[in-house]
């Protein structure tokens, strides 16, 4: 049914249709609306049976999720930013134990400096944690990916993060097609855990494993993630047959056929990129787009296939590997190894800086001339950085950088703190 609603609400309704039995959460912007809506459904009885637990921290949220998933309950949680970092030890634990928890990450920058706005540095910090990671482009996709997420996680017995851009998606009102309970029930079978703490058949979960088998147990997770590369297209196809629309999958190309320049990105910024590419195509530029939906496992073969015809690739990412450049770009480079294609890293939009079509037009046009740096920071105010570097050179005790730089750009520190 078509409905106009907030992204968070859409995701909450989709999660509820998946019949989770335990939901645990600690509030953090911009995740809060999702879990508040789920709390409401539990209260009004529309989501039952379900235990909703308000916990004392994200570390507790993931730990409660581990306990309930180990006991065989379909389990959901959601977080963002600092919350994801705070629960990191339990995040690794959940995947190492093979527990199919579904978690929404409402992507938000991580501090310091404190920042509540959108980028992908939170989820990407957990890229090696063993969780499947999938990025939604629109609110429709966000809600669909949760339904597919439960199916995938439970089949593989691995946890999944469904990532959606904080505020840009979570707080945006858009039209979505909300499936019916019958459709979801037809697509998502009842949860049959692969391992469960059952008093009738006692087992212990969480063995200590030494060098004799540690690599094999970890390799198993890797092998399962590789299997996900096959399962996901199949599940997406099945999703289409039940729900009547394309959603999810590994990667998506746009106007890529004869493209000399290909732009690669994840999440909601793909919309802005496609609009820019439309205008550039109309002006005769041979430019196309590759949207990456699945980030872990990384679809190396599909990325390579989609990009190998291009002369250059511009990876536009809302993340920064400090001391290296890009995270997504590094992964894309791996997919293109031994091919004579220039790969540019463009760090854009971190901490919520708007990515405008105007900036993209300039960037893509310069990229077509191979006139951008290997690692480019879109719309970076270099003068502000230089000023701070000068200060640091001039004086040993130059004071906190963020406060000084805010003053330089004319914003009072605490307004943003």
């Amino acid at each position: 049914m078509l409905k106009q609603m907030e992204g968070s609400r859409a995701v909450a309704e989709a999660v509820a249709l998946c019949r989770p039995e335990v939901i645990c959460a600690y509030p953090i912007s911009p995740q809060t609306h999702i879990v508040e809506a789920l709390g409401e459904f539990v209260k009004d009885g529309s989501l039952a049976p379900c235990e909703f637990i308000n916990v004392e921290s994200e570390f507790a949220a993931m730990s409660v999720a581990i306990g309930s998933s180990a006991a065989g309950a379909r389990t959901y949680t959601a977080t963002a930013s600092q919350g994801l970092l705070f629960m990191a030890e339990a995040v690794y634990n959940a995947s190492g134990l093979g527990l199919p928890i579904v978690m929404t990450v409402a992507n938000r920058a991580i501090g310091a400096p404190i920042n509540i706005w959108n980028d992908h540095t939170d989820a990407l910090s957990q890229r090696d944690s063993g969780w499947l990671q999938i990025f939604a482009e629109t609110n429709q996709e966000a809600l669909d990916l949760h339904i597919q997420g439960f199916r995938l996680a439970e089949e593989l017995s691995l946890p999944i993060m469904v990532c959606m851009d904080g505020f840009i998606l979570t707080h945006a009102y858009e039209r979505v097609d909300m499936p019916t309970q019958e459709q979801v029930d037809a697509y998502l079978p009842k949860y049959e855990p692969r391992q469960v703490l059952d008093p009738a058949e006692p087992v212990s979960i969480g063995a200590m494993v030494g060098p004799e088998a540690f690599m094999e147990v970890r390799y198993l997770a890797h092998a399962k993630q590789m299997e996900a590369l096959k399962l996901i297209p199949a599940y997406a196809a099945e999703f289409k047959s039940v729900f009547g629309r394309d959603s999810g999958g590994l990667v998506h190309t746009y106007k890529a056929d004869d493209a000399e320049t290909m732009v690669v990105a994840m999440g909601s910024v793909l919309g802005t990129i496609k609009d820019t590419v439309d205008e550039m195509r109309a002006a005769g530029h041979k430019i196309g787009v590759l949207g990456i939906t699945l980030f872990r496992p990384f679809p190396i073969a599909q990325v390579r296939a989609a990009l190998q015809g291009a002369q250059r690739v511009v990876v536009l990412e809302k993340s920064l590997a400090v001391g290296l450049g890009g995270i997504l770009a590094t992964n894309v480079r791996m997919a293109l190894s031994a091919l004579p294609i220039d790969v540019y890293t463009v760090v854009a939009g971190i901490g919520g800086r708007p990515i405008t079509m105007r900036s993209l037009h300039g960037l893509f046009r310069r990229a077509e001339q191979d006139d951008i740096d290997a690692v480019t920071f879109l719309d970076l105010n270099r003068a502000v950085v230089d000023k701070q570097l000068d200060r640091e050179r001039a004086k040993r005790r130059s004071g906190p950088a963020a406060e000084a730089m805010l003053r330089d750009v004319g914003v009072v520190a605490a307004k943003l703190a």
């Binding site: 959460a25 809060t32 004392e56 040993r396 520190a413 703190a417």
Partner: protein
Amino acid sequence: MEAAVAEKRKLAAKDYKSDIKPIWCPGCGDYSVLNALTRALAELALRPEEVAVVSGIGCSSRIPAYTSVYGFHGVHGRALPVATGLKLARPELTVLVTSGDGDGFSIGGNHFLHACRRNVDITYIVMDNQVYGMTKGQASPTTAPDWEGSKLTPEGTGINPFQPLVVGLASGANFIARVSASDPINMAKIIVEAVRHPGFSLVQILSPCVTFRPEQQEWRDIVRTAVVDYTDDAARAARRLMTDDGFNVGKVLYKGSRPPFKPEFEVTDGSIAELEASFVI
């Protein structure tokens, strides 16, 4: 020396405020906590550079930016260990921690226990509004079990509220008091006492969140001045807390005499300039 003392005395409460205007909601109890804190610092006649205020995350945790003393705005729940590190590295500083019931008792609850045990000479000011104000009104550990105002606790929390003073006393806090934000003069007086008392001092302030707990505006009428003065006997303090409903305010409950945890090294009596010189590489 005398001239220096006289110089110190010149500072008024407003001198401890920064020029940044607080962005709390109009009527928030935290305004009067800021006023009391700055008044207390003036009363203590400390230079701004002799004081550090450390916080976590929350509406209450914004206080450092609104003061002119050293401020540290950390991550959610970690104010106490940050302050511990700070105090141990610079024992001559007067260190206060200002945060909320969420920051201090839920996500940072573990640190609260150990800060009380460790008994470092810091003053912990908790603005308790029984809610997470900053994330728009969810139940905190001190929220009554039947409060249904948040969708995250659809049926109320249904669980036992955290009792900061009881837990603080049991864990070894060396000074314990409860005050109401509706009485700024007395609040300032008790903050002064807390700072002066050696070791870990806990001051719970009933500071209403007028936006997400509007009913807390009634606190100013509900609170009553505690009838008895402080005791130095922990068992007696514990017995008093057993019959306490959370609204006995305005007096110190307990003053212990456990020696504070102190760093081993000698405090330099050199000037700041000499100290700075030793850092230059």
